[in-house]
Amino acid sequence: MGTTLDIKIKRANKVYHAGEMLSGVVVISGKDSVQHQGLSLTVEGTVNLQLSAKSVGVFEAFYNSVKYTLRCDMRRSLLAKDLTKTCEFIVHSTPQKGKWTPSPVDFTITPDTLQNVKERALLPKFLIRGHLNSTSCVITQPLTGELVVESSEAAIKSIELQLVRVETCGCAEGYARDATEIQNIQIADGDVCRGLSIPIYMVFPRLFTCPTLETTNFKVEFEVNIVVLLHPDHLITENFPLKLCRM
């Protein structure tokens, strides 16, 4: 092994906020003495916009494309190769000031509350009640709530929470809206006991969520769907828009 270069950032979680100092060390290790003609640090922030393969003229997700990297270069003489090491870090928007107030929501799902039903008469009878403790969520805290299957004629196959990211990009010609499922969490498996509350609990994935963002040109929003699968093949979805923030 020749000479190696390593960047060690002080913070283990590599998360920084605007205005903060990113500090750490560059470790150069080698057997012999190392000659070089300068060591430089570069920070890069990139937004990598990719055209969607699906629809012409639409960009793929904004969220994932923002990337911050710290690069360290060591220039060396002609005989030895220059050394480079990059290290990614994360920038979180500054936590919002002010008090966070929960916004609880109750829900009841029955065949009658459903939209987009082709033949309502064929649906088995059921009554599902529940609540979300808040639809406005702190991104580091889980989404919580409860759900009770009060009654259901058909056996339940599964109940899932689907987290969806909705990105809207608008300009003079109109706007494009793109919804992506970023996480799906099963909270009930099989024909659960009637009348017994089942916890709703979902941790927001760190790499795929950000605070809800709304600018003139584009928006990043999140929604959660409660998906109930009934035997033999019924799919019931209840949608709740979420507002994520960082406190």
């Binding site: 913070r11 283990a12 979680n13 889980p142 056996a155 339940i156 109940i159 996480q183 799906n184 969490i185 099963q186 909270i187 009930a188 498996d189 099989g190 024909d191 659960v192 006991c193 017994l196 509350s197 089942i198 916890p199 609990y201 979902m202 941790v203 994935p205 760190r206």
Partner: protein
């Protein structure tokens, strides 16, 4: 070389004895004495005062001698410390005792009285089995393609194995169908191994994938009979994973300077470790399916300790609630069992979650009888009575965790809640399995009532009675209820049709019956068991249970006269028709007898029964029986023989031994024991008659002697025979049976040529010479007092023995023969004394027969000369280089013999001893210190009266100076 004449020294044994004896010194209390028990006192002083020596001069030393062994250990020794630490075998035994203490010490730590999961594991695996085909469906989910290229040179087997590995490596769906149970177990074990391998090779993601896939298997309830075992196997993997993750993060907290203590707080954990830990939790939180997410998170529950103090106490209730999402009641109860298991291990003080698991379970209990479950059972063709017991291991475990150290009020509440639910047999059973026995025993009548009310179609009732019986074996119900409990329970048990169900139940209840009732009730129960198990030879399938019944009965009836008066006991034994089992049972009975029988017995009932039992054991011996087994059987039979005594009825005693001989003729140790017993009987008789036999007792003693004489030849061991001949001869001599004694000694002499050069001792071939030497020395000591037969020549036994020794083929290059001759010289010297060293009461030895007759002495001396000539001849042959050392030591030994027994006033003998002294020193092979000591001894002896001539001898014995 001219023969040296022998002149024995005249010995005054009395004076010698007096001069040798140590002076008696009165001992003050508290004085040091070597045989006084060492008092171990814990003093830290280093001074060990042990002034006292073995000399007869006064010795005083402190009474508290510091025992060097215990002082090093500082009070605690590693063995007892080891014994104090938990080990499962002792746990069970300790449980009864500690159960009583439980109420008082309410600390939150799980004590040794908590039966650990590990002890349940094996039982579950053994009980829940299947013959149906199983399947494993693994999806290692990865986007990358398969990367396996096997070289064609590899064998097919290796290739498929590698391919399987590759499949693991990177995403492909793998469904293994048609696995037998054993295949399945092997597969899971392989998975466990690949988890460890992946972890060791730093493939953490792959490890996680394996764990997720494994826990996913727990949502599959096809082949439902196997589910409990599957749970055991897969949670093993989860435990491994949990441990690996915890240890990894723990190791990250260790920097060069310090190691994290066992009870660390999260502040001491560095950021990198915390971040890694958090990463694991984030990864797990994003697992899509409920069941794997639950199990994997539960498996690393302990890791919450790294993040926050309250982590575990927040996590446990959440996970408890999470189980509510599991629809299948069986899957859900096992999930709860796992959570309780992890909870008890990591945070036993968090009882709330345990309780919540219990009450949540009760809430979902009705699901068991719901349509979804019923449909599934119909589909799998499983009946309710075999489905419900599948819940037991998980429920028992949850109940056990909850009831551990629980206050009485909680137990009562739990029971009440169970009562309210319909068809509660399953719950009832778990309550009885898990709650402390005292609690159950006190309410036995209530439980019997509840059991009776249970629906017959659901959970099998015999299991309920069995559980109740297990509790009653551990704890006692109120005195007033005892008989009623037995009656009520047995009324149900006796109606059980299936012999297996019946015997499983009966086995448990025997313990209770034996504990609290008399032989009458036990007899009734045994009779009932016989009645149930005899038709269609049902006993053949139930030997373990029947054996356990016998063990319980004999454990409680130590008095064998009572035991054998239980009429049905022997008929019960007749059910053990398979020989190996039968012998096992007999061994148990004899072990208990030997252990508990205090007094010798002549009770005909016991004798008859035990003779029958012993005969059974003896008759099981055949050519294939192992030595160990034979030894064990012989030990047991001997134990019995030793306990039989007819008191003063010696005739009866002898006829018992005669009968025993005919019964146990195949076990040599038993015959040996019988010979010893008969010899003892003869000596006993002599003692009673105070040495003066009447006509009748003399005849009886001769009968005893005859018994031994005809029994000994049937033994195989040559030294056993020799020693017994000698021993029996001594007994005959003591009982004035002179001709019989002669016969024994002659037999022994004629047996000596048969002694092989090598004999088998504990499976190893050893040279026999040292044993022969030992025997002959012993023999010589006896021959001293055996009077010559009037019709045979002088010393005919000694002469015969000498002939035999002469003809025996001795090992080449061995001096044993000469050592024996030296001993013969000692014997002959002792024989030439006026009065012998010892005598047998009422037997005239040669000293009084010949009265120092000169002819006798001349004969004696002639023999001595012959022997000496042999010795000197042998010494001459040792004059070769390689034998010089032997020559030196043998020469010295001969010198010592002459010094001790010879009359050195005789010039030739004196000269011979001087020559021998020189011979011993000639080649520098001798130990100078020995020579110095010897010389000192001679000088000391010379001061004795009549020994003055030794002074002169000492002057002629130079010490070789070291060069």
């Amino acid at each position: 070389m001219a023969a040296f004449p022998w002149h024995s020294r005249n010995r005054n044994y009395k004076a010698e004895f007096a001069s040798c004896r140590l002076e008696a010194v009165p001992l003050e209390f508290g004085d040091y004495h070597p045989l006084k028990p060492i008092m171990v006192t814990e003093s830290k002083t280093k001074k060990v005062s042990r002034k006292g020596s073995t000399s007869s001069t006064s010795s005083s030393s402190s009474s508290s001698v510091v025992d060097p062994l215990s002082s090093v250990l500082d009070g605690t020794d590693p063995l007892s410390m080891f014994a104090a630490s938990a080990d499962p075998a002792t746990l069970a035994a300790a449980m009864d005792n500690s159960r009583k203490k439980r109420d008082r010490d309410d600390n939150s730590i799980v004590g040794s009285d908590f039966e650990p999961w590990a002890s349940k594991r094996g039982e579950i695996l053994a009980r829940y089995t299947t013959t149906e085909k199983l399947s494993i469906n693994l999806f290692m989910g990865s986007e990358k393609g398969k990367a396996g290229t096997a070289t064609s040179a590899m064998s097919e087997k290796v290739r498929t194995r590698l391919e399987e590995l590759d499949d693991f490596e990177e995403g492909s769906q793998k469904e293994l169908l048609n696995l037998t149970q054993q295949d399945y177990v092997n597969r899971i074990e392989e998975l466990n191994q690949s988890l460890k391998d992946a972890w060791a090779s730093d493939q953490k993601v792959k490890a996680l994938k394996i764990v997720i896939q494994c826990s996913k298997l727990l949502s599959d309830t096809s082949v439902i009979q196997f589910y409990p075992s599957k749970f055991v196997l897969i949670t093993d993997i989860l435990d491994t994973f949990g441990k690996l993750v915890y240890e990894r993060i723990f190791s990250m907290c260790v920097d060069n300077r310090s190691v994290l203590p066992d009870h660390f707080s999260p502040e001491n954990v560095n950021d990198t470790a915390k971040e890694t830990c958090l990463n694991w939790f984030f990864k797990i939180a994003s697992i899509r399916e409920l069941i794997p997410r639950f199990y994997v998170e539960a498996s690393i529950l302990k890791c919450n300790k790294f993040l926050s103090k309250t982590g575990i106490s927040e996590c446990l209730p959440r996970l408890t609630c999470m189980v509510r999402g599991i629809g299948d009641p069986l899957v859900s109860v096992y999930a709860r069992a796992y959570l309780c298991r992890v909870g008890m291990e990591v945070a036993p003080h968090l009882k709330e979650s345990l309780n919540k698991n219990f009450f949540d379970f009760l809430l979902t209990f009705k699901q068991i009888h719901g349509d979804t479950v019923q449909n599934q059972l119909v589909l799998q063709g499983v009946e309710l009575p075999s489905y419900l017991p599948l819940y037991s291991p998980a429920m028992d475990w949850v109940f056990q965790c909850v009831s551990y150290h629980a206050p009485e009020a909680l137990l009562t509440e739990m029971m009440e809640r169970c009562k309210k639910l319909g068809n509660n047999a399953l719950l009832l059973n778990s309550v009885m399995s898990a709650f402390r026995a005292e609690f159950i025993a006190a309410r036995s009548m209530d439980f019997i009532g509840m059991i009776k009310e249970c629906d017959e179609s659901g959970f099998p009732k015999h299991l309920l009675f069995r559980s109740l019986g297990l509790n009653l074996a551990l704890a006692d119900p109120p005195e007033s209820d005892r008989l009623q409990i037995l009656n009520e329970a047995w009324k149900v048990i006796t109606k059980l049709k299936n012999p297996q169900d019946y015997i499983n139940c009966a086995e448990v209840w025997v313990e209770y019956t034996c504990k609290h009732f008399t032989k009458r009730e036990v007899n009734t129960i045994l009779a009932d068991v016989i009645k149930h198990m005899t038709p269609d030879r049902a006993f053949e399938d139930s030997y373990p249970q029947l054996q356990s019944i016998i063990k319980k009965v004999i454990a409680h009836f130590h008095d064998f006269s009572v035991l054998f008066s239980v009429e049905k006991f022997l008929p019960f034994l007749d059910m053990f028709q398979k020989e190996s089992v039968r012998v096992e049972v007999c061994k148990c009975i004899m072990e208990v007898f030997i252990k508990h029988q205090q007094e010798p017995t002549k009770d005909p009932v016991i004798l008859n029964a035990l003779l029958h039992v012993c005969k059974t054991m003896h008759d099981s011996v055949n050519a294939l029986t192992l030595e160990d087994e034979k030894r064990m059987l012989a030990y047991l039979i001997n134990g019995f023989i030793k306990m039989v005594s007819f008191g003063r009825d010696f005739e009866q005693q002898l006829s018992f031994y005669v009968e025993a001989r005919s019964m146990f003729c195949n076990l040599e140790p038993v015959l040996v024991q019988l010979i010893h017993s008969v010899n003892r009987l003869a000596m006993e008789t002599r003692k009673v008659m105070k040495g003066n036999h009447s006509r009748k007792t003399a005849a009886f003693v001769r009968a005893c002697v005859a018994y031994c004489f005809i029994t000994i030849p049937s033994l195989a061991g040559i030294f056993t025979r020799l020693n017994l001949y000698l021993h029996s001869g001594q007994v005959a001599l003591a009982n004035q049976c002179l001709s019989q004694a002669d016969a024994f000694f002659k037999a022994a002499i004629s047996l000596v040529p048969e002694v092989p050069k090598m004999i088998n001792i504990d499976g190893k071939m050893r040279p026999s010479e040292s044993f022969l030497l030992e025997f002959l020395c012993n023999f010589f000591s006896t021959l001293l007092i055996v009077p010559d037969h009037p019709e045979h020549g002088v010393l005919f036994l000694v002469r015969e023995l000498l002939n035999v020794i002469q003809d025996y083929t001795w090992e080449e290059n061995s001096d044993e023969k000469i050592r024996i001759y030296t001993c013969v010289l000692h014997l002959l010297s002792a024989m030439s004394q006026e009065t012998y060293l010892y005598h047998v009461d009422k037997v005239d030895s040669n000293d009084s027969l010949y009265g120092g007759d000169s002819k006798f002495l001349a004969e004696n001396n002639k023999l001595c000369e012959t022997v000496m000539a042999q010795i000197l001849e042998h010494l001459k042959t040792l004059a070769k280089d390689e034998a010089l050392k032997r020559q030196s030591s043998l020469g010295l030994s001969f010198f010592n013999s002459i010094l001790a027994h010879g009359d050195l006033r005789n010039n030739r003998l004196n000269q011979l001893s001087v020559n021998l002294w020189h011979l011993a020193q000639r080649h520098g092979c001798v130990d100078t210190r020995t020579m110095v000591k010897t010389l000192e001894y001679i000088k000391k002896q010379s001061k004795q009266p009549d020994m003055g001539h030794l002074t002169e001898l000492a002057l002629r014995l130079p010490l070789q100076t070291r060069t």
